[in-house]
Symmetry: C2
């Protein structure tokens, strides 16, 4: 294992700034906390700037730290230094300073990389994290996140995604209203509609699944640009399904041809 260093004050200050969205965007770096999250980052092979470990937990994370790629530093932090960066009341004691991936042009997307997931106005970080974890489970490889959604590098998104965000190509800040007319020539666009729609069904190749926020659903403008609308049949009294659960059902049904139906 690479020997752990003591961070300088300047480094600590730089990392602490990453708790704010503005600085994450300026620096192109974000904090990814927790054993599972760091493990997935390392498995993904994506670049990282540094691995940080809480001094008294160093031994626990030795195996993880041993996987630090060349060029990334390993730093031991005191409990006090840790608390300036951590989101957790009972921290596990390991965190990566991850490098944000280079932006991808959504207009360049073509069929052939599995279905697309398109998200409009997902403002709740726990919902976005849950959606990314589910997308990763069902083999969606690319997620387009509409402008006005929470950022994927938000600590709660990173945590709730259980590191799944490192296995996905995420395209953020997308103007879905402008992009859909382009995408709909290359993908069959399916929109979720709590009001009316056909039942979910297995999807052909080249599908893009478009979901809206839990409170507002998709706008009429976006729904008008879809090829079909899906509504999950219920039968009970609840007024709606939660967004992460509706999304799981739709992704499950959509990818059946890819994972082998029964």
């Amino acid at each position: 294992m690479q020997r752990a260093s003591i961070p300088t004050k300047a480094q600590l200050k730089r990392w602490a700034k990453l708790t704010a969205a503005k600085h994450r965007q300026q620096e192109g770096l974000f904090l990814a906390e927790g054993g599972k999250v760091v493990d997935e980052l390392l498995r993904s092979g994506r670049p990282l700037d540094a691995l940080l470990v809480l001094r008294e937990r160093t031994e626990r994370w030795e195996a993880l730290l041993a996987r630090t790629p060349a060029g990334a530093g390993v730093y031991q932090l005191s409990a006090r230094e840790w608390s300036g960066l951590s989101q957790d009341k009972a921290p596990e004691g390991v965190m990566a300073v991850a490098v944000a991936p280079a932006p991808v042009d959504p207009e360049g997307l073509v069929e052939g990389q599995g279905p697309l997931l398109l998200l409009d106005q997902v403002n709740n970080p726990n919902n976005l994290g849950a959606l990314l974890r589910t997308a990763d489970w069902f083999g969606f490889r690319t997620v387009l996140i509409g402008a006005g959604s929470v950022e994927a590098a938000h600590p709660k998104v990173v945590r709730t995604s259980m590191g799944s965000l490192f296995h996905l190509t995420l395209i953020e800040g997308v103007d879905l209203g402008s992009l859909l007319p382009v995408l709909r020539d290359r993908f069959r666009v399916i929109g979720s509609d709590a009001g009316e729609g056909i039942h979910p069904h297995p999807c052909p190749a080249g599908t893009a699944l478009l979901l809206g926020s839990e409170s507002h659903g998709l706008s009429d403008e976006l729904l008008a640009m879809t090829h079909e609308r899906w509504r999950i049949p219920g039968g009970g009294n609840a007024e709606s399904l939660s967004l992460p659960q509706a999304a799981a059902v739709m992704m499950y049904e959509c990818v059946k041809p890819l994972v082998g139906g029964r």
Copy 2:
């Protein structure tokens, strides 16, 4: 509308005690906060002891308060009094003192009331609330909650369920290890197993769907008593689906014959 009263100190003290599980169980009452939750309680026709409203929000909730059943009091509380009962930082300002339903004997359950949902060791209140909301959506009418799970009257369960708990028959504190040998003669028992199992499929009448906690899954002892095991096919990198999302997929697939497949 029934005229709102000013509560006595004794009433306020009694309601405040309902924030603790011990007192909820002793009194057979629990607090159900929020407009949506109270609306579902009133729609369900279940008994309630009182409706409470934050004084400055009385006008906003007039239509809801007008539906208070005979015999239940309506009380206006000051912001300070409210804060002793409320779970919310930005309270909506309406809350019911709901009456816990009489216990149901799980050994008396017979086929014919839709599928059963059986939950083992669900300790996370947000997960339990989400499961109840989903069960209600998919027309499950009866949920058996294993001993050691969080109580259904926990404020976070009530809130996350969006009031769906008022539309379900909930049987709590169930010893699933003792009950399953009885139930499996009357119901086809399906257990969720992250490790191995067949793909979910539409269920015949008389099905009981058994789910475990997110972290531990079902014990080998319980799994051994099922008729079949289900595993949701994925195809991606995520290690697992979250419990509420896996549950939504299984319930969706299970009830297809009831709600009309495509």
